[in-house]
Structure formats: structure tokens, C-alpha cells
Point group: C2
């Protein structure tokens, strides 16, 4: 089995393989929020590309979440802060969600036969699942508006590290090699490693240090969201 | 002044700024070959996107170079091996050139106000030039068919390292941070660091180890090719 890392949604078509398992990664914060939501009992989520689509779901009685440039959009109940999803009100609900990068990454990889949601909060269960599938893996980083970002790369590196050291996966691209190197430099203190990164600074300006620390915590939500048709559900 | 790293030609439009200086990088081997050609007395080069365009120039009496997937295309006098350009026959000539990645990177950044050609062979003079310009810098890696590659990233990291440590340049993106980290891991033995990289393996299969070692040598050709209209000329 081969493992590849796609650094931006824009590049997904260059990596697509019909049988591969895709892991969508948006550490700060969409996939961390989604994993948290399912861990806290949400029933289904509907990732949508545009804010308008989220509004349409809301108008039809759904809960809805929307974030752009790090901030919750006015008129919505939820953004992409994981802490927003630690709430009894979401239990059993179906939530439409649109974010700056994460839901775009889901959108761009929609033709994949299997899409799961990865974050540091479910790192180990994601790796265990990938090992059990015995299929090629494509790690799709959401990045920031189609630019490379460090935090998603670190998560990709953590997965590459685990899959190549504990299983038979082969690295098939330079981005996987680079991700693994970067993870190995960063792993003892990812928070410090990311201190100059563009998105940590962006979130720090919005007073979201608590979100950052939470999103870098390992295995707090050992569940896997998976796409089934237009829905994300808990595997 | 800000410095950014664009990992693939596909992404260039996300980075474009009217006043920035663009450095096009294709270490294995187009930009190493171009720098070598000018160091050895070529007068002008005409980078073209397609093999057909190179053929058309050839039909009109120009010398022409064409490479795809690491190999020189039949019917051409030159490919992208730097050693092909260490030849008295190129002195004073104008050569049309089309390669798998390097000339595509030039093509994608053509709307930049200034494009120069970078490689380890002219690292220091490129950095000195960038410092003197006092403008924003965009390092455009050719990559491999619009995927990230390690060797171009290492060169970008070397430039970021030099410009941020010896001058007033600010890092403005995560890809610049990552490139600098990777260069600092690799710098003491880049040949060894790249031993598992996809392109080194591709070239090794073609028996091009000598090219690899040459392309990783520092400052052997201290000149800068620069785009002027459709031509590359020596600055």
C-alpha cells in the first residue's frame, strides 16, 4: 500500500485514485470541530462549500455552522471552534457546515471512494483504520486558501510516521517524506513549533489560543467521521 | 520585504504580486542546465512550454533542447543535462528549450515583473541580487508535474535561510518556514538527504548520478539568467 500527501485541495486531482482512502485534514479547526461534534453526539453533518448552502439548510430547519477567515458568520449558531460542539444541544442533530478550508477539501475530494475525517483528536483510531483497510492512502491537507500550511502537514507527517514504521505502507511522494521530517522536528512541542506559523498567528489575533491547544491534543475523541453520500456520519 | 515559497507552478496565481521578484527553481535539472549554459557562453535561451514550439524553433535554424520525464527527446541536440551545455558549440548561440517542469514554471509566472533563474550553482549571487533589489520575493518551485518536490524545496529553504538571517526579509508563509526547516536538516549532506526522494530515484534509474551531484554543488556558476521579453539572457 502506498501513502501520499496532497498539500492543497487544488492539487487533489493529481493524486486521485479510484480505490484509495482519503483522509481530509484541517487541524485549525474544521476537522477538529467535526471530530469533536461526533464525539459529543451529533448525528450527521452535511459539509457544504458555500455559506449560502448552509443558510439554505438553516432555512429548512437544520442546525447550521459557518466560518470564514477564522470567524463565525453572523446569523449562524456555530462556527468551527471545537468548543462550540461540546454542547448538549447538538445531540442527535444534523448540522450543515461550511468553512474556509476544511469543507473545500471535502468538496475537492468528493469523487474518492472513501473519505474520512482526521485530526490530532482521533490520530490513533484513524491510523488503525487505515492499516486495517489495506488500501492506498491519500492524506488531503486543507491548507489555507489553497496554500500549504504547517499544522495540517504535521498531522499528515504523524500518520505517515505511524503507517510506515508500524505497518507495510510505502511512501510514494516527496510531500510524504517532507511531512514526516517536519513532524519529527515538531512532535515534542507542536505548539512551540507552530509559534511562527501563519494560521496560529491568525488565530492568536482572534484570541483562540485555547482552540489551538485543544486541536493539538492527541486522541481526545477516538471516533472516525466518514462520508456517506452527502452526509458525514460516525463510523 | 517579504519572502514566499510557491511549491508548484499550478499555485503561482495565489502568490502573484505585481512588484515581486520571482525566482524559478528546477534543481533537477532545468534551471541547473540553464545556469550552466549561460556560464558556458550561450547568448540567449527561449523557454517554451511545448516540445512542438521547440521543434518549430529548430526548423527555423535555432539550436533546440527538449526533455520529458528525464530523457532528451529524439531529434534534439540537447536535453536538460547540465553536462550537455559544457560545450564550445553553444557559445554565442540562442537555444530554445522545453522541459517537463522548469519551463512550465517559467510559463506560469510569466506575468511577474522580474523572473530570474535559481539553482544551487548560483545560490549566492541570486541571494545577493535579491537583497539588493529591496522587493518582495516569490520562490517558485517547478516541482514534478505540479506535485511538491524535495530538491526545489531545499533550494528555496537555502534562500529563505540566507535572506532572513543576513537581511531584513520577513517570512510570510508556512511554506517558507517548512522549506527553511527542511534545508537545515539536509544542508550538511543534501545528496544523502535526497536518497529516497522521488526524483533522485527517477534520475538514478536513468544513470544520472553524476548530474545529481553536479546540481547539488554550490556556486559553481556565479551568474544570473533573467527573463527579458521572451528571452532568457545573462544579467
Amino acid at each position: 500500500m502506498k501513502i501520499e500527501v496532497c498539500y492543497t485541495p487544488q492539487a487533489y486531482n493529481l493524486f486521485h485514485k479510484d480505490e484509495a482512502v482519503v483522509v481530509v485534514i484541517d487541524v485549525f479547526r474544521a476537522t477538529s470541530a467535526i471530530v469533536t461534534a461526533f464525539y459529543n453526539g451529533v448525528s450527521k453533518m452535511i459539509p457544504v462549500a458555500t455559506v449560502q448552502e448552509a443558510k439554505d439548510y438553516q432555512a429548512n430547519g437544520f442546525m447550521a455552522a459557518a466560518e470564514r477567515d477564522g470567524e463565525m458568520i453572523e446569523g449562524f449558531e456555530l462556527g468551527n471552534s471545537p468548543f462550540g460542539y461540546m454542547n448538549f444541544k447538538i445531540k442527535g442533530k444534523t448540522i450543515a457546515i461550511s468553512t474556509t478550508n476544511g469543507t473545500q477539501a471535502i468538496e475537492s475530494s468528493r469523487k474518492a471512494s472513501k473519505i474520512i475525517i482526521g485530526s490530532f483528536l482521533n490520530l490513533d483510531v484513524v491510523c488503525d483504520y487505515l492499516v486495517a483497510q489495506k488500501k492506498d492512502v491519500i492524506l488531503v491537507c486543507a491548507g489555507w486558501k489553497n496554500k500549504f500550511n504547517l499544522e495540517d502537514t504535521l498531522f499528515a507527517g504523524a500518520v505517515v510516521n505511524k503507517l510506515t514504521s508500524e505497518s507495510d505502507f510505502q511512501i510514494d511522494c516527496d510531500s510524504a517524506i517532507a511531512s514526516k521530517h517536519l513532524y519529527n522536528i515538531a512532535k515534542d512541542d507542536m505548539y512551540e513549533f507552530l509559534s511562527n506559523s501563519s494560521h496560529r498567528n491568525r488565530l492568536a489575533k482572534l484570541d483562540l489560543e485555547r482552540d489551538i491547544k485543544y486541536c493539538l491534543s492527541l486522541n481526545l475523541c477516538p471516533i472516525i467521521p466518514v462520508m456517506e453520500g452527502k452526509y458525514l456520519v460516525k463510523m
